[in-house]
Structures are given as structure tokens and as C-alpha cells.
């Protein structure tokens, strides 16, 4: 077993040969690039990284990486990632999702992943639309957005993932824009390094069904203030900002989930004796 262990990697080491099915101009191309660049900086070997996803355009990402990939069912990537991480704490687990997969069908798992605080990174590519099913409103879609499924708009209040993450106990909260590869890479590196559950929402335009999102690149700006470790302050800031300030918004210091903390059950022999005759 005298195999040479590679200690440094190039971005291409993290990319597979598979051609993405994404439309030309999709923001997810840039997210994929940022992920590979972040992994180069982290220096973790591709085989020690597990990329887990659900269903949707963004969830196709594991197949485009050279990491251990798990492409599960719609909306359930977080519990799958949690099971993998608690069984294999040595792996770097990155869970990838979109606004439909992660906040609608997977909404309950999002809340509990935040409060459970398993040491993994959750990346949601938010384009405010169901792209793979050809343009239906998602939980983050604006209430007046018109579509074949929502003529005149849904009239529903959009889901606010960053605030919900804070209220539910996520330990690291950030917003990024897919086109800002440098900023996204930097934040992803920090998110993976930060202990506990790190949530990074990446605004990733869907140029096919939301061409209006092409304007995002002109609206994006750096968060005007430093990240806080006070969730209430972070939540207030996020609820009153313009939705386009990017960077790390909250760094918490909660202890990550650990299944091996308690042994209150006593000596196994005692329990066995109860049952033996």
C-alpha cells in the first residue's frame, strides 16, 4: 500500500467528463466552477468529498464533479447527507439543492438540518423558478411573477431562506451571486471550514425562464457591514436589506451535532440480566 498520496489538486481534478445538461448562460455553470475552485483551496482529495443532491437543474451537479456523488430523490438531499456525515465524519459533505428542491418539497428537512447542526455545507442555487419542469413558481418567486401555472402571479409571500436558517439554528449563513466566482469561492471555503451546518444561498440566474434575472449582475453589491455572531441582528439586517448584498452574513459558534456524546444507559450487562432467565 505504498500509493503516492496526492496533496495538491487543480480545479480540473474535481470535474468529471460529463457535459452539463444546463442551458447556455445558466448560473449553475459558475457555481460548479466556484465549487471546484473552493475544493482546490481546501485541498481535500476528490474522493474524500461527497456531493449529495436532490432533483432539479442544480441537483445535477454531483455528476459534473469528480467527487463521490449521490443524486437522490426530490427534496431529500439534506437527510441523506446527514446520514452519510454522521456515519462517516471523516468525509467533507456538501449538499446541493435549488429553491424548489430545498425550500418547497425539502422545506421541513431544511429547518431540522439547521437545528441539528450536522457539520456539513448546504449550497442552494436559488433562481426563483422551477427550471427543469419548464418555468413554474417556486417558494422564492416574487408574488406577481406570471407563468403558465400562475397566471397573474401566485400572490404568495416569498420564502426567506436566510432568515429561516437563522431562526432554525444554522451556524453559518451567507449569500452569494453565481457570477461572482471569486466571492463565491471564498465563501464556500469558509462555509466548509466552519463547524456545524453552513448555509450558502447562491443567487444563480435562470436565463431561460427568468431572463429578467440577467439584471442581477448589476444589482449585486458587497454586504455593507461585517458578519455578526448575533442571529437576531443578522436576521434584522437580512430582512431589511435589498436582497442583493452578498458575503458572509452570520457566523455562529454552536457546537456541531455529535451522536456519541451521551452514555447514560449504564452497563449493558445490567440490561441483559433483566431479560435472562
Amino acid at each position: 500500500m505504498t500509493q503516492l498520496q496526492k496533496t495538491s489538486f487543480k480545479a480540473s481534478d474535481y470535474r468529471s467528463d460529463n457535459t452539463p445538461i444546463w442551458c447556455p448562460g445558466c448560473g449553475d455553470f459558475h457555481v460548479l466552477l466556484s465549487i471546484t475552485k473552493a475544493l482546490v483551496e481546501l485541498g481535500t482529495a476528490p474522493e474524500n468529498v461527497a456531493v449529495v443532491s436532490g432533483i432539479g437543474c442544480s441537483s445535477r451537479i454531483p455528476a459534473y464533479t469528480n467527487c463521490y456523488g449521490f443524486h437522490g430523490v426530490h427534496g431529500r438531499s439534506l437527510p441523506l447527507g446527514a446520514g452519510l456525515k454522521v456515519a462517516r465524519p471523516d468525509l467533507t459533505v456538501m449538499v446541493m439543492s435549488g429553491d424548489g428542491d430545498g425550500f418547497s418539497i425539502g422545506g421541513n428537512h431544511f429547518l431540522h438540518a439547521c437545528r441539528r447542526n450536522v457539520d456539513m455545507t448546504y449550497v442552494v442555487m436559488d433562481n426563483r423558478v422551477y427550471g427543469m419542469t419548464k418555468g413554474q413558481p417556486s417558494p422564492t418567486t416574487e408574488p406577481d411573477w406570471d407563468s403558465a401555472l400562475s397566471p397573474g402571479g401566485t400572490g404568495l409571500s416569498p420564502f426567506h431562506p436566510l432568515v429561516i436558517a437563522l431562526a432554525s439554528g444554522a451556524n453559518f449563513v451567507a449569500r452569494e451571486f453565481s457570477g461572482d466566482i471569486k466571492g463565491t469561492t471564498r465563501t464556500l471555503v469558509e462555509a466548509v471550514r466552519h463547524p456545524g451546518f453552513s448555509f450558502v444561498e447562491i443567487l444563480s440566474p435562470c436565463v431561460t425562464f427568468r431572463p429578467d434575472e440577467r439584471a442581477w449582475k448589476t444589482q449585486i453589491h458587497a454586504a455593507p457591514v461585517e458578519a455578526t455572531d448575533d442571529p437576531a441582528r443578522a436576521a434584522r439586517r437580512i430582512m431589511t436589506d435589498d436582497g442583493f448584498n452578498v458575503g458572509v452574513l452570520y457566523r455562529g459558534n454552536r457546537k456541531p451535532y455529535n451522536t456519541h456524546v451521551k452514555d447514560t444507559a449504564g452497563d449493558p450487562a445490567i440490561l441483559e440480566e433483566e431479560f435472562e432467565i
Partner: protein
Amino acid sequence: MTGETKLTNLQGNHACALAAISAGCDFYAGYPITPSSEVAERMSVELPRIGGTFIQMEDEIASMAAVLGAAMGGAVAMTATSGPGFSLKQENIGLGIITETPCVIVNVMRGGPSTGMPTRPGQGDIMQARWGTHGDHPVVALAPASVAEVWSETRRAFAIAEAVRTPVILLIDEVVGHLVETVAVDANPEPVTGRVWAEGDPANFQPYEAGPSLVPAMAKPGDGRRAHMTGLTHGPDGFPTQDPATASAMLTRLFDKIETHNSLIERFEAIDCEDADIVIVAYGISARAARRATSLARKAGLRVGLFRPVTLWPFPETAFRTATKSAGRILVAEMNAGQLRMEIERLTSENQHVEGVNRFDGEPITPEAILTAIDQSKEQAA
């Protein structure tokens, strides 16, 4: 295995948990539900002692997903639930089948449909176990009839899951789950044989390439092999495909893989069937009543036998046909409206009359009810 046994008083659900640990299970994810919660409670106590992981998830779907994630990571994983939770797990059970992820799903069956009778027994999930997840797929489901058999079948469930790389469903009815019996268990049980991990050159590794066993060796995350697991139809390389030949080959292998391992999977009991005019078919707690009924009927001079499938899916077809060769009448006793009867009707000839002894009021079937059915059947035959 030393062959040495010890006598223990155990509840069925506790026997399931302890047998799982003895088989090598080191991961449990679950959600509270009656009447299966004792499995989870016992696991929450036992797993930390062996360095395993117990995790209570936010719902039944998450529990099944966590089991798949853990199993992919190398854990020997299980979950337990009951009717409504079993329904919720179905989509991920399909994911387990298509990604060939070994795991054990325990369903302690209660009265249904819907919330039904949560504290009352039922056997109404037989067909849900077979067809609960969408699409064509093979299924392995086992139905123990006693606490002792919960022990042995739980161990066997893990042995099958690990060797064949497939989810295995353990259908325990509420009576067996909550029954306390004295059982002789192995004093020093050994873990079941582990799964086959991929070896050799990682560079040319194909995660779904299978040899003659039809079971592909698994890639352990972190060991240097690139593997992509997906619920999409995939080829030997693990990546999605819509190529008809590859799609057909994938599903065909999934079916053939189960058939190839039939000797490991199939288990049944045929008692007094050789000369039987009437054969009772029953499983789980209903088989205990049927055993009593057949023995009383024999004492009364009636030629009655019992066919008890322990493996419900795939149904032991050949064994059933052999056991019922001389029987003109077949009674299927089950706590549902006649789910296994449909399968039996499919397997019998037109000269064989099939009827059911059914109960779905939350009470187990009694030996008397089966005896009455035997008498009636006898009269009709005459």
C-alpha cells in the same frame, strides 16, 4: 458461532433491535411511531455502546434518506416504522433498490388504511411491501411468526441486504412485535458476512459493473474510487442514460440478482402437506393460529397441512406448488381483506379452490376461526 445458546425473555421489537446489533448493524435512523417505537428505543440505548449511531430524524422520509446515506458511507443501517411511516418511506425505498443500497426496513404492521388502529395488529401491508414504491422493481420481504423468528429473520434480513446489495423489508405484525416469549439465542452471535467492497485499480472502476453474482462491488466513499449514485436509470458507469438497451439491462439485472440469490432469500415451512386435501397458507401471527388449527384438524382425522412462507417476496412459488400438489382446497388466513390470496390464486390450478380466512377488525385470527373454515371447506368439497 460457538453453538452455545442462552435463554432470554424478549419482546419481539426488542429481539429485532438486539438481533440487528448482533448482525452488525451500527446505524439507526427513525421517527417515533406505534407500534414499532420499542425498536428505536432499544437501538437508542444499544447503539452508543458499540460506537454506532442512533439518530432521530424529523420525519419518516428523512429517516429512510438518512439510512441510505449512512449505508452508502459504509454503515450497516436500518430503520423501523409502521403503516403510515412505511407509506412515507416508499419513494426512498425505490431509491435504495435502484442505487443498490443495502439496508433493512422494519414495518411493525398495524390496522389500516390511513391512521387506522395504531395499537391494533394487522397484516395489511403485504402488497404495499411488494408494490409500494413506483415502477417495476424486485422486493425482498420477510415475515417472522415468533419472537425467536424475529431474531433469526432480522439477522437474515441483514445477511441478504449486505450480500445482495438491496433493501430488505421485515414485516412484523403488532402481535409478534409486542409478544414476549422465551427464546434461545446464540450466546456469541457473529455479525453477518459483510458486503463486497470494490478492490483493485480505482482508475477504471465502474460502480455498477457486476460479475456472475450480478451484485456490483460497492465503492466506499474516501477509498479513491469515483462513484456516482443516482435514482435515474443508469449504466455500469453509474451515470444517467436513456439508452433503451442500457435501461433494460439495468432493470433486468436488478430482477435477476434477486433470483440468483434465491437460496439465500427463500424460506418457508411446509407441515403435513404431503397428503393434504386442504392446505392452510398463513404467515406472521396468523400462522401460529393456523399451526394450532392444522394440528387439531389432524387429530380429528382430517388431512390438513400448513404452508407458511417466511419469505413473502419473492413468494416461494415452487415450494408452494409442491406443497399443494395433493390439495384441492387452499385456505389463506391473513389479517387483511385477502392480499396474499391474490398471489395464491395466481399460483393455483383451476382444480384447486382458493378461499380466504380474513379478519381486519384489529383482532388476530383464532385457531377456532380457521377450524370452522376447514369444516366449511370440507362440507363444500363433499
